[in-house]
């Protein structure tokens, strides 16, 4: 493993303390190991040197011992060899005498064996029994001048020393043989300062050198020194072998090593404990800080303990300061989020929270009536104060119920009520009680209040917030001119769903879901159907028939009315051709939205379409639409008229009417609103109004069509008043193209019968 890998491993420990402790332990252990290795190496090396020197010394000592013993033996042998009597005995072959002399000397000298070897090879011996081969080796060696050496007798090495017997010529040799046995070796071992073991061996495995070498023995690595000894057998190599197992050399140091190990272990243990304690002191504040950060993450405002003045202490202090700042800031943010900056009252969010806290909670929204008027009268700032006072008053009246400013001129309250009726009653009571004049800047201001009430909505409701629903309820209350109203979901409808409807309308056009229905117009003079009004119908694949009031109104609001109208014009032109082909020449009326009367490019389209097709169309517009933008509208109506399109003023009498505009609009026809015609049967006033209108129209050169003709009576009255055309269920309901053609094809009598 590389060093960087090791550090990486270190850095993966999750615990700082473990990491510190291990690092210190590792470094100290490394230093300890290195110094231990150094000590052991030095000691071992020193011990080896000592052993080597001692062995060399022991080898030298043995050399001297060998020489000394040889000399001593030689001296003894020599004394005997020179003894006149002995020589005489040898010369005269006096074997008993010779033997006794040898024995005597052997005992005196303390040697193991003695013999006299004649130059002819004949031997007389005591103490040892060398065989013929040994004697041959001995004789050959002595003959060649060797006087001291190792001789193997019966496999046992002997130190052999000889002295010549001259009588006066050489007769033979007096030979002393001393066993090189364990006892002698023990003596040598005792002389040595170190406990080495000595042995005389033949043909030692290692070459005889005077340098100690290290070899492996059953006792482990040992130092060995072989010292060559002279041998009578020229083929054999006798040697003194000194062996010293190194473990014996190391024995005196064992206690030193033991102490070293013990001191190392103790040091390591102390370091472990010390580092652990130290790192705990170091890491404890960090751990505490770490924990504090974790708790802060979970939204808890904790203070980390500051235990020191060092970097960690400063960090902890900074952390605490930061937590304090954070806490203040959040409090401020929370306050801002839940309070109205202008009045200091709790805001809508606060109210929603309060409402959400209780299942029986109801939100009551009190709106200051004619808010803009009041505000303009007393000023912006004063209005804020007024609302603050009003909020406090309402809250006090409702036994300290939570209160908030919800809109520019409305204050909300959360009250607890068992049901809607109870809540509504409470709201009416509060609205009535709180209407006392409010003093603003010393002047009393009269206010009236309207209240909207909403509870927790049913699941799946489009409006999730009760505050929103209460606001709508407030609007609904005002529309109904009531002091208080609860939220009416049915009345509110589904504005969101309607919005999606519009996006589907364009698809519906191309998919053929939208069609035109035609309602016939009865001509009193022609006594027949001379025209039809085209009305749009939308059959939605899921919703079924969509009310034209809904989708046309929304198309107007969302700017989709132009493509819808363009489609209707094209369709009407096509259908008029179809009707003509079926033999019915009819004027087709198309409703044109007021918004299109300010659209010159739409006028271009319409004029162009009519010119191209040569159709006989009538555009039904309202007088009100012209009044919104009279300049453009009048010009466009002029263009329609110039293009041969007849213009009909629709719903006359239901909206604003201005005779000025009536005069200026180049219309061909005026359609009296059905609200007048429906009351024609019973109301003389309506009859008068209709009669006057017909006269007025005729006076201006306009034809008159009556809408909503549903009874024969009305038809008869209209005929009597000189009305030109009649339209209504009595004449015919709006029907699809095919049904219209069928109706027209029916015998005229049937139709007339109905009408009359």
């Amino acid at each position: 493993m590389t060093l960087s890998g090791l550090f990486h491993r270190f850095s993966t420990f999750r615990n700082l303390r473990t990491r510190l402790t291990l690092l210190y332990m590792g470094l100290f252990g490394l230093a300890l190991t290195l110094s231990g290795i150094a000590v052991v190496t030095a000691v071992t090396s020193s011990a080896r040197h000592m052993v080597r020197d001692e062995m060399a010394a022991a080898g030298a000592v043995y050399g001297q011992l060998w020489e000394a013993r040889s000399s001593q033996l030689r001296q003894g042998a020599s004394v005997l060899a020179r003894d006149y009597g002995f020589r005489e005995a040898v010369a005269t072959d006096d074997a008993p005498t010779v033997r006794s002399a040898l024995d005597n000397l052997r005992t005196r000298q303390g040697v193991d064996g003695a013999l006299i070897l004649g130059i002819d090879g004949h031997a007389t011996q005591v103490g040892v029994q060398p065989d013929a081969a040994a004697l041959d080796l001995l004789l050959r060696g002595l003959d060649s001048g060797l006087e001291t050496g190792v001789l193997t007798i019966d496999g046992q090495p002997f130190q052999v020393v000889a002295a010549p017997v001259n009588a006066p010529v050489l007769m033979g040799w007096v030979v002393f043989a001393e066993r090189l046995d364990a006892g002698q070796m023990r003596n040598l071992e005792r002389l040595s300062a170190i406990p080495l073991s000595a042995a005389v061996v033949l043909n030692p495995s290692q070459a005889s050198t005077d340098r100690p070498v290290t070899i492996d023995t059953p006792e482990g690595p040992s130092m060995q020194l072989a010292r060559a000894l002279p041998d009578f057998d020229p083929t054999a190599k006798a040697a003194l072998l000194l062996t010293y197992p190194l473990h014996r050399a190391m024995k005196p140091y064992e206690s030193l090593f033991l102490w070293l190990a013990a001191i190392g272990a103790a040091g390591l243990a102390l370091l472990l404990g010390g580092t652990w304690v130290l790192s705990r002191g170091l890491t404890r504040p960090i751990t505490a800080l770490d924990e504090a950060v974790h708790r802060l993450q979970h939204g808890e405002y904790v203070q980390a303990p500051v235990t020191s003045a060092d970097e960690i202490g400063r960090l902890a202090a900074s952390f605490n300061a930061m937590v304090g700042d954070l806490k203040d800031r959040e409090a401020k943010l929370t306050h801002m989020a839940l309070h109205d900056q202008e009045t200091g009252l709790p805001n809508r969010l606060s109210l929603e929270r309060q409402a959400g806290a209780h299942t029986d909670a109801w939100v009551v929204l009190f709106g200051v009536d004619r808010f803009e008027v009041v505000r303009n009268a007393i000023g912006y700032d004063s209005m804020g104060r007024l609302l603050a006072v009003l909020g406090a008053r309402l809250s006090a009246l409702a036994d300290g119920a939570p209160m908030a400013r919800v809109g520019a001129g409305s204050v909300g309250l959360v009250i607890i009520a068992r049901n809607k009726a109870e809540a509504l009653e409470a709201a009416e009571h509060l609205a009535g009680t709180a209407q006392a004049p409010i003093n603003v800047n010393g002047a009393p201001v009269d206010i009236t209040l309207t209240a909207g009430v909403a509870g927790h909505g049913a699941a799946g409701s489009a409006l999730t917030s009760p505050v929103d629903r209460a606001a709508i309820a407030l609007d609904q209350a005002r529309a109904a001119r009531r002091a208080a109203a609860a939220f009416d979901e049915i009345a509110y409808g589904d504005p969101g769903g309607n919005l999606s409807l519009i996006s589907e309308l364009m698809t519906a056009l191309s998919e053929g879901e939208v069609s035109l229905a035609y309602q016939p117009k009865y001509d009193f003079r022609a006594e027949g159907i001379t025209g039809v009004e085209a009305l749009m119908r939308w059959t939605h694949p899921r919703r079924g028939v969509v009310s034209p009031d809904l989708f046309i109104g929304m198309a107007e609001e969302t700017g989709h009315i132009r493509p819808l109208t363009e489609w209707a014009i094209r369709r009407a032109i096509e259908d008029q051709k179809t009707m003509a082909a079926a033999g019915h020449v009819l004027t087709v009326a198309v409703n044109i939205s007021g918004r299109l009367l300010s659209d010159e490019s739409f006028a271009d389209f319409a004029v162009n379409e009519v010119a191209t097709s040569g159709a006989d169309l009538c555009f039904e517009i309202t007088e009100t639409a012209v009044m919104d933008n009279p300049e453009t509208a009048l010009r466009i109506v002029d263009r329609f008229a110039d293009a041969g399109i007849s213009v009909s003023l629709d719903d006359y009498g239901s909206g604003l009417s201005s005779l000025t505009y009536l005069k200026r609009i180049r219309a061909d026809e005026l359609k009296i609103d059905k609200s007048f015609i429906l009351g024609l049967d019973d109301s003389a006033r309506d009859g008068l109004l209709v009669k006057s209108t017909i006269d007025l129209a005729h006076g201006l050169g306009l034809k008159v069509t009556a809408e909503g003709v549903e009874t024969p009576t009305a038809l008869a009255l209209l005929r009597g008043m000189g009305c030109d055309l009649a339209q209504g269920y009595l004449i015919g309901r709006p029907v699809p193209m095919a049904a219209l053609l069928e109706r027209l094809a029916a015998p005229a009598d049937a139709a007339k019968a109905v009408i009359r």
Binding site: R82, Y84, R87, E88, A91, T92, I119, N166, A167, P168, V169, L170
Partner: protein, 205 residues
């Protein structure tokens, strides 16, 4: 027995014969002359009877802690004088077979003598001075002579006919440190060269 031998010797000596001079040159293996080698000739006809006399003194002196001469040829039955010319005393001995004797400590200008009765070699030593060594070659023929420094020995008046030539030297390799060679002696002077190995050890028992 001794009488009979003497008689036989006399008989052989009396036989008419032509005598010749014989020069024997002794050389070692390297061809160098060897001195102090004892050359003897035993005619096949035998040696003349009667005591043998040599022209040199039958004497082994001790001078300067040495025997002098190193090799002495002595006739069998002849006495050899051992004068001590040193100031120290000597103890002359011989353990040689047939010539075993001992002349115990005697001083300056004292003379001892010993009669050698058996042919052979006596190795002489001094019990006091180990390094002293000399040889007395006891011969039973009048034709005996030591080689000189040139390695030559001249034997005069050797009867013609078959004979055995012997050479002895303490270092000569061979049985009894001796070489024997059959020889035909003619009246005319002859010269024989004997080569031998002179590195052997003296064997005197």
């Amino acid at each position: 027995m001794r009488l009979l031998l003497t008689l036989l010797a006399a008989l052989s000596f009396a036989a008419p014969a032509v005598a010749g001079d014989l020069t024997v040159s002794v050389r070692d293996a390297a061809g160098r002359p060897v001195r102090d080698a004892v050359v003897t000739v035993h005619p096949a006809a035998g040696v003349p009877r009667g005591p043998i006399r040599f022209p040199w003194a039958s004497r082994m002196a001790q001078q300067d802690v040495r025997f002098l001469p190193y090799v002495l040829i002595a006739p069998v039955g002849g006495a050899v004088a051992f004068p001590n010319l040193d100031r120290v005393r000597h103890h002359v001995y011989s353990f040689s077979r047939g010539a075993r004797f001992e002349l115990e400590l005697y001083g300056r200008d004292e003379t001892r003598s010993h009669t050698f009765t058996t042919p052979g070699v006596a190795a002489l030593g001094c019990n006091i001075h180990d390094e002293m060594l000399a040889y007395i070659k006891v011969v039973d023929t009048p034709w005996a002579m030591k080689t000189d420094t040139a390695g030559d020995a001249i034997l005069r008046g050797v009867p013609a006919g078959g004979a055995t030539l012997r050479v002895w030297h303490p270092r000569l390799a061979g049985r009894g440190n001796e070489l024997a060679r059959p020889l035909t002696v003619s009246a005319a002077p002859a010269r024989h060269t004997i080569f031998g190995d002179f590195t052997a050890r003296a064997v005197v028992r």
